[in-house]
Each structure stands twice: as structure tokens, then as C-alpha cells.
Symmetry: C2
Subunit: 354 residues, 2 copies
DNA sequence: TTGTAGGCGTTATCAA
DNA sequence: TTGATAACGCCTACAA
């Protein structure tokens, strides 16, 4: 930390707190402030000894470039906006944490806006307002597929990265493919001997998560199971949706012996309603979710699910936000088998991998 | 959105995207840009008609002041830093959402840093680094009681607001008092006839949450119940801690018939372990938590708990961050009785109140 | 390889 | 009640 040039009793610089500027560093290093700028920005054309002197001065003064000044003078804001759903607790915190650290790693800052989905749909204006003017805004489902929001940022001339988008439109898309692992999950259930499997599908077809339903159908078909439309109910990813779908599914004349919920919160709802009705999981009813959100391991039995590589997705999104030419690699989804399908497994006590 | 002065076919300003500056507004309103600045900043000394013309120009041009420029020229950054624990999913997302919207309401932006507690304790430097230079940093437990962190920000000359702090030190404290409601919760359990109540206490005495244990002891004493130290086990607020404490408590020669966990995730651990061991909740074992985090309603039975007024706390913290003279009012904690103590209550399906 | 001039969009100061 | 002018700290040009 730099102090103003007030000499104190120890003959050192004083404690009147201030912040070192690029000129202070330049003076201390005996170079022009432009040279300091070059060092800070990692430009090549700096003599090695000048660079060393500058770096030392930076360390000594605790110099940190002013974001505000860089924003104003340069063209970049070093800010990335993130828009995500203002509900569904576990998903948003994972994304926030992952995006935040991905941004920090790249020298960027994350500004977050959470949006209520119903409120947004009901309103005729796009209420997202980043007064901080980020270089880029990252949109996650369901907003990444919202044409109005895309146009909003296009008009504002702000770059957009769309995570798991499925519709065409403005911005760069970071694609995901959930189908293979969802298929693996379904084969796991079928391999356990289940013949009638209920599905709590995503709310709308126009989402990447629809792949979970597609996988369900493929698996049912490939195993030659009966394709009963009554076994498929759509839900809005909430706990309540899981509960109510389960009430319906278990009331069917031929009830399913397993339920695949396309989100862990809904799967928790399945578990809760099953418990209320006295079904034992997994013996009477096997349950599977999707996401591997923290809730999946805080219920009993813990939920078999598909782990979303949120960190990798976040890193790719930030990378794409900074470098428009970035080509993301396919992400590594992973089947996690737990007690809700396999009775021999009990609590999952490992710390949650953010 | 303001467009640069390129006349298009319709005779309107063109579509070369740019952003309106204060000078553009001044030109459009026929005043000096300083007058615009006065209007934007809500200063008094502006003529009513000038003000009206400026406001209209602002609307027409879609003018938004540049945060970067304000930061550079003014003394405020319009940024508030938030430091919170990088684990315990539900708590952090609630805080983030609440702080974020509280900041937005005040025209500030929120920058977030999540810190791993163990990593922080093991490291000899404070690794929080807000390159965005916020005006103020809000610290939540357990970091609000960390002397090193306080000194770090004091040296950096950054204001600090400490939410629920109990130790003295640098910065403003937003105090909370959890004892009355924790007492109410204990009385509820005792009122149900429980004589031996297990307690899963907070990890360390030096926290505001210690009030939960204090309340436990008071309630036990005032009801004349046996004060058995074996009934009190400390936990680190994790699901796993809830599980392991429950294993111990239920193995006692005289097992408790109710367990008060000082956090909902731990209470979920109690529920899970009780289920594994075949105890029925609440008939064989009543369970209560604290926080009213989302997890409390996504398990079966849903958990009786104390609702933390996170929104109010967040608002107060932001208010204190902006205005050092702000005096927060006591917060309104609330007992929420659910199925884990009252068998007549089933799922809680209301949308979560952020 | 290094340095100088100019400007980014706002607020602060002082004058009109 | 208004307005001109000088910062703020840095980056982009261009020049040496």
C-alpha cells in the first residue's frame, strides 16, 4: 500500500493513506509513466532492466491500476455482466461462484443481475440495467434464448455470450450437449430392471435441457419399453413441481417404479412426496435427478444425478466473453450414482466441489 | 440509446452505435454540461425549466452516466464489495441476491468475492483483492470477526461494514440479535413435551450465532430440564456435521427426543441420519434448524426453523455502507413451524421469499 | 526501446 | 442559478 510522501518518525513514508498511481511508480522506478503502463499491460517492447525496476516499484508501492481510469481511457471495461434466474438457489450460487472466479482469473470483474422469470415475461421492457457498462454480458438459461433480451444488448452494442442457448440470434453461443449423459442415466435406471419410468421434463421444449427428455425417449425406445405419454409430465424445475408431478405419477393405474426428474430440486420434490405417501426409496421407487446441485446430497437418500461441469462451463463462457474467437470444447457431464437408485449407497459427505 | 450524429435515410440520427455522454445531453437541452451533472446528481440549485429540459433530453437520448468517469472524477466508486463464505450454498446465494438488489436500489454496484474459510486461515496473506476499488466492503460471518481482514481493509483505507459481528475492531457493525427467536424455538420444542433436547451448536463461540446456543441453555434452564453436556455438540454448519452429530446423539444411553441444529443444512443432516437409522420425524425425533434456508423446505418433513430476515439485513448493510451515520433497527427474526416438529404440517410449497 | 500530447466522461472548484 | 476550467489515472496515438 502506497502512502503519501509524508515522512514519519521512522523516516519512512507516512501513513496518510492514498493510493499509488502510475506516475508514482514511474517516479520510483525512474522511468516515464508510459513505460510503467507497458509493463503493466504485458507489452513486449520494454528493456529488461527497466521492466525489473518497474516491477520492483510496483511491488514496493503496492500499485494496482485503477479500473476506472482504464475503463475510461481504454476501450475495455474489465467487467463482465452475468444475468441469471433469480430463483433456484443452488444453481445460481454455483454459477455465480464459478463465473466470479473465472472472471477474477482473467483479470475481469463480475457484475451480476438476477431476474425474475415471470416478472420479466410480464413486463414489456427489458429491465436489466448494468450501469457499470460491462464489455460483455453472459446469459444463462432461460434468458439466453430470449429474443427481447438479445436485441436489448445488441442495440446497446454490448457483446453477449449465451450459455446453453438453442435458438439462433445475436451473440456467441457456448453449446452444451446433455443428451449422452442423460442417456447414460436412463440406461442405468433401465439396467436396474425398471420397465415403467416416469419423467418430469423441463418446462419448455426450447431449451438445452430438453435433451434430457430426448434422452428419456431414446432410452425408452431402445429398450423396447412401453411409451406411455402419461408418464411424462413437464415441471418448472421447482421443488413444488416435483411434488405435484409425483402425486400424479404415483396415482396412475400402473404407477412407474422409477422417476427421472430433469432437475435435482424437482427430484427432491419426488423424494418428499414419496416419503409422505410411504414409498421407500429406492426399493419402492427409484429416483434420479439432473445437475448434481448441493440439494442432491442433502436429502435422504442422496439423489442419483448427472453432474454439470459448471466450472468448465463458466470458464468457457468467460473465455468467450473476452476472446470472441474462442472455441469451447465439449463439456464433460458425469453420471453420479447415489442412494436414490442404489440402496447400498448412503450419505454423500464429501465437500461440495464448487 | 443514443446514436452518433449520422443522418440516415429517414432523416433521423443514424445507427452507428455509441453512447450518449453528458455533453450530448447538454447540447440537446441547450444548457452547459455542468447543469446536466447537477440534475443527474439531484442537486437543488437548478431552475425548474432547465431541469425539465435536461430530464427530457436524458430520456430521449437514453443517457446513463458512465460509472468509470464518475469513479475517476468523484470520490465515490459506486461499488460495494461483499465478502462471503465460499461454501454453504443456500446462505451465500440468498445474501448475494439480497445484497445485489439492495445495492441496485441505491444506485450502487455489487462486486463479490467468495473466500474459502480453511484456505484463508491457512494462508498468511489476505487474498481478497477487489481490483475495482469499492467504496466499502461488507463482511459477513465468519469474516466479519477476522482481525486480519479488518486490518487489511483499514490499511487499504476502504470502509468496512460488518454484518453480525461480535468482536470489536475497524468498521461499522450491523448488529443482530438471534437470541429471542432461538429462545422461542426452544420453548416450542419444550412445549411439545421434549425433555432431552440435543443441540448442534455453532463451530466457535466468537460468532453472533453463538446466541443460538445461549438460548438453548437458557431455555433448558428455565424449563428445569437436565443440563447434560453430552447433548451439546458443535458443528461447522455443514450437512456432514449434522449427520455425524446425530450419529453421536442418537447413540447416547438416553437419546434426545428432539434435536436443535443451529443451521438448516445441519438439520438436513439430522433428518438424513435419522431416516437412515429408521427414526420417524417428528414422532420418534423432532428436528429444528435455523436460517430458513431453501433446503429447509426441500426435505421431508420440511424443517421447523427460524427465518433470517436476510433482505432487511442486506438493506441495512448497504445503507450503512453508503451512509456511515446510519443506525440499523433490530431485525425481525421469525419462528417457522413445519413438519419436522409438527406432524400435521406437510410440504411447504410456497415460492421462496428471497 | 522509450517518451510526449491528447483525450476518455465525469465531478469539483471557482467565477459569473 | 449557471458555466468555464482543471483535475482524476490511464491508454492510444504518434514522435523521438
Amino acid at each position: 500500500m502506497y502512502k503519501n510522501a509524508q515522512t514519519d518518525a521512522r523516516g519512512q513514508t507516512g501513513i496518510v493513506s492514498s493510493v499509488a498511481t502510475i506516475k508514482d511508480v514511474a517516479k520510483a522506478a525512474g522511468v516515464s509513466f508510459k513505460t510503467v503502463s507497458r509493463v503493466v499491460n504485458g507489452e513486449k517492447r520494454v528493456g529488461p532492466e527497466a521492466r525489473e525496476r518497474v516491477n520492483q516499484a510496483i511491488r514496493e508501492l503496492g500499485y494496482k491500476p485503477s479500473l476506472a481510469a482504464r475503463q475510461l481511457a481504454g476501450q475495455r471495461s474489465y467487467l463482465i455482466g452475468l444475468v441469471l434466474l433469480g430463483s433456484g438457489i443452488s444453481y445460481i450460487s454455483r454459477m455465480m461462484i464459478a463465473m466470479g472466479s473465472a472472471c477474477r482469473d482473467k483479470g475481469y470483474n463480475l457484475i451480476t443481475a438476477t431476474l425474475d422469470y415471470h416478472q420479466h415475461m410480464a413486463s414489456d421492457i427489458v429491465s436489466i440495467n448494468f450501469s457499470a457498462r460491462p464489455d460483455c454480458v453472459i446469459l444463462t438459461p432461460p434468458f439466453c434464448n430470449d429474443q427481447r433480451i438479445l436485441e436489448h444488448f445488441e442495440r446497446a452494442n454490448i457483446a453477449v455470450v449465451r450459455v446453453a442457448a438453442v435458438t439462433p440470434g445475436y451473440g456467441l453461443t457456448v453449446p452444451v450437449n446433455e443428451e449422452p449423459c442423460a442417456l447414460e442415466l436412463m440406461r442405468h435406471l433401465i439396467g436396474l430392471g425398471h420397465k415403467r419410468i416416469g419423467m418430469i421434463a423441463p418446462p419448455l421444449p426450447l431449451r438445452a435441457s430438453e435433451a434430457r427428455l430426448v434422452a428419456y425417449r431414446k432410452a425408452v425406445a431402445e429398450a423396447g419399453l412401453e411409451e406411455d405419454p402419461a408418464l411424462v409430465i413437464r415441471g418448472d424445475f421447482s421443488f413444488a413441481a416435483g411434488v405435484s408431478a409425483t402425486t400424479s405419477l404415483l396415482a396412475l393405474p400402473q404407477r412407474p417404479t422409477a422417476i427421472f426428474a430433469s432437475g435435482d430440486e424437482m427430484a427432491a420434490g419426488v423424494l418428499a412426496e414419496a416419503a409422505r405417501l410411504g414409498y421407500r426409496v429406492p426399493d419402492d421407487l427409484a429416483v434420479a435427478g439432473f445437475d448434481d446441485s448441493p440439494i442432491a446430497r442433502m436429502v435422504f437418500p442422496p439423489i442419483t444425478t448427472v453432474h454439470q461441469p459448471v466450472r468448465d462451463i463458466a470458464r468457457a463462457a468467460v473465455e468467450a466473453a473476452i476472446n470472441p474467437d474462442f472455441k469451447p470444447q465439449p463439456f464433460d457431464y458425469k453420471l453420479i450414482i447415489r442412494g436414490s437408485t442404489d440402496g447400498s449407497r448412503q450419505h454423500c459427505l464429501e465437500p461440495y466441489p464448487f
